[in-house]
Every structure is written in structure tokens, then in C-alpha cells.
Amino acid sequence: MKKALAILLALALTLSFAACGGPSSASSTPAPASSTSAAPASSTPADEPSGDPVALTFWYWADNTDQSNLIQQIVKDFNESNDKNITVTAEEYPWDSGGFTDSTFNAIMGGGGPDMSTMKLQAGKTFAANGLYADMSSYVDAWEDKAQIGDNVWEMMRNATGDGKTSILPWTLEALYVYYRPSYFEKAEVEVPTTFEEFLTAIEKCTMDMDGDGKTEYGFGMRGAGGGQEHLGNFLYPYGATWDDLTTPEAVEAYKAYLSIYQNGYAPETAPSAAFAELTDGFKTGLTAMIIHHIGSYAQWVDLFGDDVDAFPVPGSDKGQWTCAGDTELVVYEQCENKDAAFEFYKYMTVGEGGTTWFKNTGKGLGTSNVKETEEFKSNKFQAVAAEALKSAGVLPPTDTLTEFINNVWAPTNQQALMGQITPEEALETMNKALHG
């Protein structure tokens, strides 16, 4: 009996692990929200809201507690100020390295979930392929402020779903650019790069002992692990390569240039395992002269370095220029019963007071007129660089396997290439297969 019990115990414990990924895992996702809607569904955007009470549930993630409070405050202000009797209930769930999108997906597939949520473009296809997003094309086309947001941005939204519909509504686009330390540039006697070649030279020259402690500071903070795939694009396009095919000779040449930064010792030895935290800490402590990041971090650099921090767009060449746009968008789900109300909320979050408050506190937005008119925009030198970078910004191709490429393939493959375990050609072949199938 003892033996049987012991075996049973072992079986149950081990198999319970196997069950973790099962469909029942939906039950371990955030509790489905009660997305009630008191108003009847409206089929056309031209319909006037009835004035009956409307309740919407909005799921979001926040990058930190300040943003968490900010979103709650913006939603509260919307609830108090809108004249259409709309009440939005904002519920926060952690981003959890993309776990947010999985949880939301599982919740909606399981019959729960919100009316609206924040979203990343990279998840566009999965949601769209399952018919979870509402098609907001007619609302957008009829919107008088549509032109405030660039055509390339709307195009980006449509491409992300792959079905030609405007289902993802732009909210925050943060184009990546280079932060650098002017004092390091001065010591290394380099000018702000305007070409990609100059950029590589600056990385090399800034690898030196900057503070006289006998230790080398590095020219470039390389993000070899999670999130680093976004930086690869900065290298591809100046060599004439694109994301569409990573096996071309141009892509190989670009990737070799990328790898050589680490292999020549111009990036910290920790680069292969560096993700966001290691990247920013390297810059924070003065270990690196340059990092690629977006507008979201400018405030902490200014707090730390005062005038000794500046920025420039990642340069291109005559063959091309590209930078990745980190994004947080808004989506309305098909299950939302009052899409008029949801679009009202979206407008408030972009060109309305919500969008202004969001920009003033985070520096993030879409460069709409309400944002450009603020003193915060006019007096911030980093906003001009971000706006310039946005002109060449894009996102990784939203293929069916993009999430797998980002989560499971990029880091280990890139690490193998950085350490010389596989050739650049082999690494790119693997990445291309993971990205395009």
C-alpha cells in the first residue's frame, strides 16, 4: 500500500506539471472581467450615443507604479468629464514579458476578458486570425482627427493584423534612437555620427578608459538577449538588407558588423545575456557610451547626467535606414457591445485630455497637435530626436511565428553567434526560418 501511495504521489506531482499548459490554464489567467454594457450595440459610427449608462472594461499594463497611477487617474477623469454617460473600469495586469497578451487571449477565448485593452503590434495576427478584434475602420475613416496621426502609422496598424482592417488603434509609438554621453564623445574625439559608418567608428573610438580608473568603458551597450532583435534592424537596412529575408548576402554583412562589435570588445562581456535591465544599468553606471532606447527613459538619464546626455537617430546609409518602434496600442474587442463608447474613450486617450496628460507625464504619444502644443514637448530636445527617428520607424514583420521568434529563437541563436558557436550565416538561417517559416 505504501508503495502504491508513493508511486501515486510521484505520478500526480509530475503530471501536474504537464498539465500547466493545458486549456484549463485559462482558469489561472486573470479573472475574466465583467464586461457589461448597458447600452444597446450600435452598428454605425455615425449613430449618436443614446445617453444611457455604458460600462466598459479596460485592461492595461503599466511600466511602473507611476504609470499605473497615471492611467487610473486618466480613466477617472474620463469617467467624470465625458458627457456620454460612459464609465470605464480600468483593470491592471502585469506585462510579464508578453504574458499580458497570452492572458488576455486566453481570457477572451474562454468567454471572458475586457471590452478594450492595451496591446502590442506583435500580437496583432494571433488576435486577428481568431476574430477577436473589432474592425474599427469605419470609425477611424469618419474621425475628423485621423490626419493628426501619420499615414505611415495607420499603415503600420493595418499591416500588423494582416487582414487590411484597422483593428489596432495607435496610442504610443516610441521609435528607438541612440542616447550618448557628450563627455565621452569629447574624450574620444568623435562627432555625432551622421552615417552608419561613422556610427561604427564612434563605437570603436569610445571604447577606452574614460574615467581613468584603469578599466575600459565600452562604446556600445549591446542587448544580446531579450529585446535585442529590435536593434538588429538598425544594422540590416544600412547594408541594404530587410526583415523580409535574413539570408541575403547583405543581411550576412550587416550581421557580421553587429557581431564584430562584441567580438572586438567594443561591448561589455555581459552583452550576450544583456536584456533591458543590464542595458540600462550599463549606461546608468557609465560603463557604456551609447545605448539604443526610446523616449521612455530620457527622464532618468537627465536626472542622472544633467547636460551630459544627448541623443541622435540611429544613422542609415544610402541603402536604407530603419529603426524599431516600441509600441503600446489600444484595441477594441469584437465582444464589446458598445463600440461607439469605446471609440470615444480612444479619442480621449489620444487627441483628448487623456492623451495630453499621458504625454506630459511620460513623454509618450503620437505627436498629435494637443501634444505638440505643450511646453513639455517644445522644451524637450529628446522629443525632436524621437520625432525624427519615427520617420524611419517600423515594426518587425507580424508573421504568425513572430512571438516564437522573439521569445524562443532570437536570444539563444544570437548568443550562439556572438560566442562563435555557429556562423553568422547559420544564425541568420535559423532566425529567418523562425520568423518566416
Binding site: 510521484a10 503530471l15 487571449f105 538577449a225 560603463l287 512571438t403
Partner: protein, 295 residues
């Protein structure tokens, strides 16, 4: 001979057991059965319309085509062998120390439990920064002691990443072993040690002739539990290295997690079932031999 009175059927025991049984069936056995069924299907939530029965295809692909499965299995063996082995060794030493009378023993006992009550996610994050090649405390101490000249990026190098994560899981598991073995040690009669002392037995004779045989069953069950838990552990590795660099710390459980995380649930379930079977291949003979003498 007077016939035995027929025992009256009692409903109450069944009613009292029912809630626990229903919960067990609902949260353990149903998902387990679902996972097994799913492992025979193409079940990727990114393509819900393509779900179909595949038979053994997932298993065949994993065992014959997946370039990461067997290397991950090999790393899992190292992870479990060294992880649990050192936990046991240091846990047993700690239990022997805590079993002795000394001043402040209660405080030491309480403090020694800290790693065990710390969530695995936090352990992963803390050790990740302790090991950091540029600002880590471990490197700082080694440099100050003159052992190193420059910091080692422990989690960025192939040869040091897995040993570094093993140290973390050893640190986490020592208190559990210490706690379980201490409880068992306190059940060993002092009379046996007194008798051994009278016979002139030394420390090792007492250890191998009295202590270990007396706590054998607790030892085996504790070892088995830790083998299962450590093998299934994802939190520490995922937070320290996410399986990197270049797969150097990717164990089977981390691999399963990563596959499931991108919603490829059929494939991930098949790997989890295989992992369970591989574990049972070791666990069942182990249990049979362990409890053979008890029957």
C-alpha cells in the same frame, strides 16, 4: 460459529471526503488527462482552426528531430544530479548541526529557513544581480579577496552559466532537506547513541550504523520530492538566464515552459508527458527498492 454482523454502510465518510476528491479530480487529474490527450494533437492556440489529431507525430518529432530536446534532457540530469546532490549534502550537515544543543539554536533554525521561504522568482532575480559580471557582489568579493583580477560574467559564459544556476537552486533547497532530516533525527532514540558510545563507536560508525538507517525512509522520500521539484523547476532559471546563453541552461522544464508560453500547447504537452515518463523510469524502480524491505 456465530456469523459476523454485517457492517452497516456509512455515507458520512464518503461525504466528508468528497470535497477534497472533487478538487483533486478537478485541478489535477482532469488537466493531466487533457494534457495527455492534447499531446497527440496539433494544438497551437495561434491556429485554433487547425487543431487536429496527429497520433504520435509530436512525440516522434521531439525524439528524433528536435535539436534541443536531448541536450535539454542532458542538462536536466546535471541540474538534478548536482542540484539535489549538494542540497542533500549541505542540508544533512546543517541538520546535524541544528540537532545539537548550542546557544541561539532557535534563531539559527529560523534564519536557516529564509532561502526556502523566498519565492523562486525572487531568488532568480537576486542571484542574477549577485552574479552580474559588471556590478555583481560575487565578483566584487572575489576581486577584493584577490582571487580574480577582473569580474567574470557568470551568466553570460557557456561554461559557468549552468553551475551558477545550480548554486542558486542548492542555496534554495538546503533548508528543506535540513528541516525534514532534522525532524527525522529528532526521532532517533538517544539510547542507541549512548550504547554506541559505550561500545566505543566513533562518529562515522554512529553515522552509518545508527543515524542513516534510522532516517532512511525520510531521506528517500525527501530526495524523491526534491528530484521531482527541482526537475520541474522553471522559476529560477527563467529569471536568471531564460535558458541562455545559447541554451546553456535550458533544462527540459524551461523548454516546455517556453514552448507553452508561445501557445504551442500540443507540442509542449507531449514534451511534458515525455519528461514525466523519463522521470518515472527512474522514480518507480527507486521507490520499489526503497520500500521493498518494508513489505
Amino acid at each position: 460459529m456465530k456469523p459476523m454482523p454485517r457492517k452497516k454502510f456509512e455515507i458520512w465518510p464518503y461525504l466528508l471526503l468528497a470535497p477534497a476528491l472533487i478538487i483533486m479530480v478537478g485541478v489535477v487529474f482532469v488537466p493531466v488527462v487533457e494534457a495527455i490527450i492534447m499531446s497527440f494533437k496539433f494544438y497551437d492556440m495561434r491556429y485554433p482552426n487547425k487543431t487536429e489529431f496527429l497520433g504520435l507525430s509530436n512525440y516522434i518529432e521531439i525524439l528524433t528531430k528536435d535539436p534541443q530536446f536531448w541536450p535539454s534532457f542532458g542538462r536536466t540530469l546535471l541540474w538534478v544530479l548536482f542540484g539535489v546532490g549538494f542540497q542533500f549534502l549541505f542540508g544533512f550537515i546543517l541538520a546535524l548541526i541544528l540537532n545539537r544543543e548550542f546557544r541561539g539554536r532557535g534563531v539559527v533554525r529560523a534564519l536557516s529557513m529564509v532561502p526556502w521561504v523566498t519565492p523562486g522568482v525572487l531568488i532568480g532575480l537576486v542571484w542574477r544581480w549577485l552574479y552580474d559580471g559588471d556590478y555583481g557582489v560575487v565578483n566584487d568579493l572575489l576581486i577584493r579577496m584577490g582571487i580574480l583580477e577582473d569580474g567574470i560574467p557568470f551568466l553570460s559564459r557557456m561554461e559557468t552559466a549552468l553551475p551558477a544556476t545550480i548554486v542558486s537552486v542548492v542555496w534554495q533547497g538546503i533548508p528543506f532537506f535540513a528541516l525534514m532530516l532534522l525532524a527525522a533525527l529528532q526521532g532517533v532514540s538517544p539510547d542507541m547513541y549512548e550504547a554506541a558510545d559505550i561500545d566505543g563507536a566513533n562518529f562515522f560508525q554512529k553515522l552509518f550504523r545508527i543515524t542513516l538507517p534510522s532516517i532512511k525512509n525520510t531521506l528517500f522520500v525527501t530526495l524523491l520530492l526534491r528530484v521531482i521539484w527541482v526537475m520541474n523547476s522553471v522559476d529560477i532559471i527563467q529569471n536568471m538566464t531564460a535558458g541562455g546563453p545559447a541554451y546553456a541552461t535550458q533544462t527540459l522544464s524551461v523548454y516546455v515552459y517556453q514552448k507553452a508560453h508561445v501557445l504551442n500547447l500540443g507540442y509542449a504537452s507531449a514534451m511534458a508527458v515525455l519528461m514525466t515518463l523519463l522521470m518515472l523510469m527512474a522514480a518507480v524502480p527507486y521507490l520499489r527498492s526503497t520500500f521493498k524491505n518494508d513489505q
